[in-house]
């Protein structure tokens, strides 16, 4: 390792001011700090610092995403062979899934990081670690049938319009990964809805609709039709919980997502306040619908089933908790989370056009997060003013 350090030290001047490749300084530093935690010491303020940095933080989040990714790989293969009516060995299933998913991940990282590096270079900034997570989130919320060039365009849109125009990591108002998905959804709707895209190379005869799509069809169904839709497609909640259902790559398995949630909460990186309140919000709206019971959707789907269908759990654990686009105050986080869950279920049930409403609910609340924070901050300010009045 010393040889590597020596090599870097030797090449470093080339990339610094006045060096031959001074323009590539950000890129050089990105690689250097990836290999080595820099030797910078504190010059003012506290002399010691917590060992955590953004690289560590982001790698913990990526680690938390691994269970969902691994399950996504398995499920992609599983759904494929299931639709063909074939039985396959575990290894074959995994290899098939890997071949389908790896290119999407590669495209997401190459395009996203490429743009990030270019912007850092242009602005003379350091390359920020934020995309390490976004680059993993984007493939996990794509349908497996997504054409690679569309993934590339969506990613590029997300990084440029979702993030860099605001000033880069830390400055964006929406979750970049969701911006990618929203762009994809509205630009290429045929590749993000229907029942073809969720299973790789599926047999035509096999229905590839997601549970949410089945659930949406309940709205207009009555009587026995409704009951039969439910018993045929929606009653197998165990599979929905485990994740052996069609859906976006990483979102299907509630178990895998919960493992990620445990990692995020235990390490202190993810906000349990947001996660918990999203689930509570979703359950509350689901329960209200159960009480109202105006159509078969409201009547037949129990409130808790909303939490394991579609992208609800994935959104709650990995998307809503993005610290940059979420509310920033402790109380704000609870309100923000609750409204995400609440709105997600509301949109799902009330608007059949958007069966997967989690994305929209989170983006909407991202937009309102500063407003929520504003009122929480005003609350603090008012308490302070009140104190003066009591004393006076």
């Amino acid at each position: 390792m010393k040889a590597l350090r020596k090599f870097l030290d030797k090449k470093k001047p080339l990339f610094q001011k006045g060096g031959k490749f001074a323009k590539l300084q950000s890129s050089f530093e990105a690689f250097e700090t990836f290999l080595y935690v820099p030797n910078i010491t504190s010059h003012s303020g506290t002399h010691i610092k917590d060992a955590i940095d953004l690289k560590r933080t982001m790698s913990v989040v990526v680690l938390a995403l691994i269970p969902a990714l691994l399950f996504g790989i398995y499920n992609t293969g599983y759904q494929h062979f299931l639709s063909l009516g074939q039985t396959a060995e575990f290894m074959d299933i995994c290899i098939y899934g890997l071949i389908e998913i790896l290119p999407i991940i590669v495209v997401s990282y190459v395009v996203g990081l490429g743009i990030e590096f270019a912007f850092a270079q242009m602005r003379g900034h350091q390359v920020n670690e934020g995309f390490l997570v976004s680059g993993m989130l984007i493939p996990l919320i794509m349908p497996v049938g997504a054409p690679l060039w569309m993934v590339a365009v969506s990613t590029a849109f997300a990084v440029v319009i979702g993030k860099e125009v605001f000033g880069g990591t830390g400055m964006n108002i929406w979750n970049p990964a969701l911006v990618a998905r929203a762009f994809f959804f509205f630009a290429y709707p045929s590749k993000m809805s229907g029942d073809i895209v969720w299973i790789a190379d599926k047999a035509d005869s096999f229905s590839g609709a997601t549970p949410l799509a089945h659930a949406a069809s309940l709205v207009d169904a009555t009587g026995e039709t409704a009951t039969s839709i439910y018993t045929q497609h929606l009653s197998d909640v165990w599979n929905q919980f485990v994740g052996l259902i069609p859906g976006s790559i990483g979102e299907t398995s509630t178990i895998a997502i919960l493992i990620g949630a445990v990692i995020l909460i235990a390490s202190g990186i993810g906000s349990w306040k947001i996660m918990a309140s999203v689930f509570v919000g979703g359950y509350t709206m689901g329960a209200i619908f159960n009480l109202v019971g105006a159509n078969a959707y409201m009547e037949l789907i129990p409130a808790w089933q909303h939490l394991i269908m579609g992208g609800f759990a994935f959104g709650a654990v990995f998307m809503a908790t993005d610290p940059v686009s979420a509310a920033q105050t402790a109380r704000g986080k609870i309100i923000y989370g609750f409204l995400i869950g609440f709105l997600a279920v509301l949109i799902r049930v009330m608007n059949a056009g958007f069966p997967e409403a989690m994305m929209l609910a989170i983006l909407l609340m991202n937009t309102f997060a500063p407003l929520i924070d504003h009122y929480v901050i005003q609350g603090n300010v008012k308490r302070r003013l009140k104190r003066v009045k009591v004393n006076a």
């Binding site: 290999l35 506290t46 000033g167």
Partner: protein, 451 residues
């Protein structure tokens, strides 16, 4: 006695090298320095020149805008240097001790018999006034104010902090006399805040004419700012004063003996010290003799006057800061670490549980001054809230300071905080933001705008 106030939010950082309660001997320091940089916001005006003979208690310089506040020599001897920095800013006034300790004579009196103005005058003349600091702003108190109350924290919860019980040992009389002098300065109460469990010394627990409040919990429980916030938060327009126990001893000695006797104990601490222990020295003394035989390694160390969170880096032959009762020596840590962000990190300390060191919660660490990462924009939220036991929104306050929004700063509680209260926020910050510098900048801006 009053109920115990519990401080739950915060963080105890366990470091190697806590000072043992023994008073070690070191050769007496020959040079002493008073550093105007220890006093935020001060514009000093010199009263002495190089070669001026001084006694302990002779004024060296004074505050240009409040000329009654003197800063005096801790020992007798000769001024040998006035070191200046950029734009001729005075950094240090250095005195060569004559080893005799001749004192300027001040009035010897029982402060209870004196009027407020007489007590004030004695403190101003002797140079002890500089130990009285005010909140808001964490600057030297304004003699023209009548503070709402005076607060004293009788314990320090910072990493490796000196044990105040030990610092005041055997000086109950001087301490009480100092307290009596303080009670003269305010119409309100003098609050002595002790640690519910750790404070044992009768000097504190049996102090008279004061209100004793009990605190318990993690750092920053010992920060006087946090204590004030729990007892009676500072509102706009309020002024309270704070002072530390050892400095009350100085005041007591002034009235007892009529001398400016600023001899004090300091704790030599830190992982790079062979035998962490207490030393007897005089305010402003050079640390060279204390450190001489005690450093494990001369190379790559950092000597800090004060604690690792709020102290000032000084050279190995530097001088003890005005308010500091602790010297900490830690490794510099200016080294690269291969894939350091990815390793399990059993030897790294973090509030988060992203390093496996959380499996050993009672371990003491050898931490260095490495930043462990680069400066970044704000990304994480909620980190600061975990270590600030106040009803203040730290992240929002810092952001209002960054954009210099005076109204917002005031509304979010700039009057209630001192840089040291947010030191832990700076420690835990993932983005390595210089929180304490920012708080000081915000305070400076407020001072400028409000005057």
């Amino acid at each position: 006695m009053s109920e115990v106030k519990k401080i739950k939010k915060g963080l105890d950082i366990k470091l190697i090298g806590k000072a043992e309660k023994v008073l070690e001997k070191a050769d007496r320091s020959e040079t002493f320095a008073i550093k105007p940089t220890d006093f935020p916001g001060l514009t000093p005006k010199l009263k002495v020149k190089v070669d001026t003979e001084v006694k302990a208690g002779s004024a060296l310089f004074f505050d240009k805008y409040r000329p009654e506040i003197n800063f005096t020599s801790p020992v007798s001897g000769k001024v040998v240097a006035v070191n200046r920095g950029e734009r001729r800013k005075i950094l240090e006034v250095i005195i060569q001790s004559d080893n005799e300790l001749q004192y300027e004579e001040f009035k010897k009196a029982n402060p209870t018999d004196l009027s407020r103005d007489e007590v004030k005058e004695e403190l101003l003349k002797s140079g002890l006034w500089a130990f009285l600091r005010q909140r808001p702003y964490d600057v030297i108190a304004n003699p023209a104010d009548a503070p709402k109350a005076i607060y004293i924290s009788a314990f320090d919860s910072a990493p490796l902090a000196a044990d105040f019980d030990y610092l005041v040992e055997g000086e109950a009389e001087a301490f009480q006399m100092g307290l009596d002098a303080l009670t003269k300065l305010t119409d309100g109460k003098v609050h002595l805040n002790i640690d519910a469990q750790k404070t044992q010394s009768k000097v504190f627990t049996e102090a008279k004419n004061v209100v004793i409040n009990k605190f318990a919990g993690v750092h920053p429980a010992g920060n006087v700012g946090v204590q004030i916030h729990k007892l009676d938060p500072i509102n706009k327009g309020d002024v309270v004063w704070v002072i530390r126990p050892q400095e009350i001893l100085f005041i007591g000695r002034l009235f007892q003996n009529g001398t400016y006797d600023v001899s004090r104990k300091v704790a030599l601490t830190g992982s790079e010290v062979k035998n962490p222990a207490y030393y007897s020295t005089i305010l402003g003394g050079s640390v060279r003799n204390i450190l001489k035989a005690q450093l494990k390694d001369d190379d790559k160390i950092r000597v800090i006057s004060g604690n690792v969170l709020t102290g000032t880096q000084i050279p190995e032959d530097g001088f003890l800061g005005f308010y500091d009762s602790q010297i900490t020596v830690i490794p510099e840590g200016d080294e690269y670490e291969f894939l350091g962000w990815a390793l399990p990190g059993l030897k790294k300390f973090s509030m988060s549980k992203t390093f496996f060191s959380w499996l050993t919660p009672n371990k003491e660490y050898r931490l260095d001054a490495n930043l462990h990462g680069e400066h970044r924009a704000f990304v994480m939220t909620g980190e600061y809230d975990k270590v600030l036991p106040m009803d203040v929104l730290p992240l929002q306050l810092i952001k209002s300071i960054m954009v210099e929004d005076i109204d917002q700063m005031e509304q979010l509680g700039i009057y209630e905080v001192a840089p040291e209260d947010l030191a832990l926020c700076e420690f835990v910050c993932t983005s390595k933001i210089n929180v304490q510098d920012l708080v000081r900048q915000g305070i400076d801006l407020m001072v400028k705008e409000m005057s």
